[in-house]
């Protein structure tokens, strides 16, 4: 059976006689995590993972998979194995147990009320 694809026809007949040889573990290399900086002055953002054989190739390969359409001024790559993360069961680390409004702007919504209430006290102090 001949392929309709001229590219594939050029690979025949060997195409039909290839041995079944399963891929070996790590044959597609290790993974990296990729970050892009979309504009100067912004934050670099995680955009996905990449398979690459080493740091240098990771940068070369990341460029077209993660910056061929979206705006980008810089790419960072880091081996996945180098990243540390907090566990989901520790999510409560990030939830305060007591009122922390004193360090938020919203903690200071009643200043004007106080001022209005004691407006009569707002006069110059006699020397």
């Amino acid at each position: 059976m001949a392929s309709l694809d001229p590219r594939i026809r050029r690979a025949e007949p060997e195409l039909w006689q290839l041995p079944e040889r399963p891929l070996q573990p790590l044959e597609h290399w290790q993974t990296y995590e990729v970050f892009t900086l979309r504009t100067r002055g912004g934050h670099a953002q995680h955009v996905g993972s990449l398979h690459a054989p080493d740091d240098e190739m990771a940068l070369v390969l990341a460029k077209e998979q993660f910056a061929r359409r979206s705006p980008c001024v810089a790419i960072w790559v880091v081996p996945t194995s180098a990243i540390l993360w907090t566990r989901p069961e520790d999510e409560d680390l990030f939830q305060p147990a007591t009122d922390k409004s004193y360090r938020e702007p919203q903690g200071y919504l009643h200043t004007r009320e106080r001022l209005e209430k004691y407006r009569d006290r707002l006069k110059p102090i006699d020397p």
């Binding site: 060997e14 290839l18 891929l23 070996q24 573990p25 790590l26 054989p53 998979q65 359409r69 566990r87």
Partner: protein, 331 residues
Amino acid sequence: MYGNLTLRPEDIENWGKKVHEEDPEKLAEFEARIARGEKIEPQDWMPFEYRRQLIRLIEQHAHSEIIGALPEGTWITRAPNFRRKLALMAKVQDEVGHAQLLYSAAETLGKSREAMINDLLSGKSKYSNIFNYPAKTWADTAIIAWLVDAGAIINQTTNSKGSYGPYVRALERICWEESFHLKYGYDSVVYLATGTPRQRAMLQDALNRWWKPIMHFFGPPDNQSVHTEKLLKWKVKLATNDEMRQQFLDMYVPKIWELGLSIPDPNLRKNPETGRWEYSDPDWDEFWRVINGDGPCNKERLAVRRFAEERGRWVREALRSPQARYVTPLA
């Protein structure tokens, strides 16, 4: 682009079997999180069955992208002008890119890319049935880019509201890129539909051949599908096959008719009373036959994939570092 989650007989058989005794407290917490509309991230606890179904869904989606690059790839070297040639290259490149994103998303669940590709090549893991049909003429590329990608967008937009973080993130980018495919496909179809008699005949012929596979694209009718309550509850599946098929017909049948094309189904009509589309049986036996390996291009698609992996082997081996160790991608 890709087809819908398809349950095979062996999945149906194993369905509901207690593969794992799940901790009821953790399960309740997990389900409550999904019910609140929160996403599940790779490091979270999740039921075994959730992980298994997601791996299968995302893996099948990834395979569909990499195999889906082949029918259209058929026409890259023959595209008729610069604009089409460049767009087709970019589109097929995107499909390969989508496979890359999706394999990574599936990897976060603990299955390596190598294992997934091995399962594709051995036939253990499936891909969307539609790519087992040949792209015989240039017009086929236009129909695929318009209507098959339209189906894929409906499917993927639905899935992008799912519960698994990495899959949702991948789908966001994929849907954005597919919207270019859809525009390109429609533009291409319109040029043929408004072209010479020969072009119009070519387009009608392509539509005639692709209509049945497109009807199959969303999977078997709901009354033939196994119950998917749990998958719906876990937001792995978000709409039934028939719901998505109806949505597709609603959106695209009028556009097809507008171009003066006829759809090869005399019974296709929207029932004004129910508001639902009615159509002839698109031959579900053929659907199952093709899924089980007996389609016009099944053999070629897998042979080409195997060929590509074989040809690339020395390159990958050469750069493989002995110090490398595998770590599941993070997100």
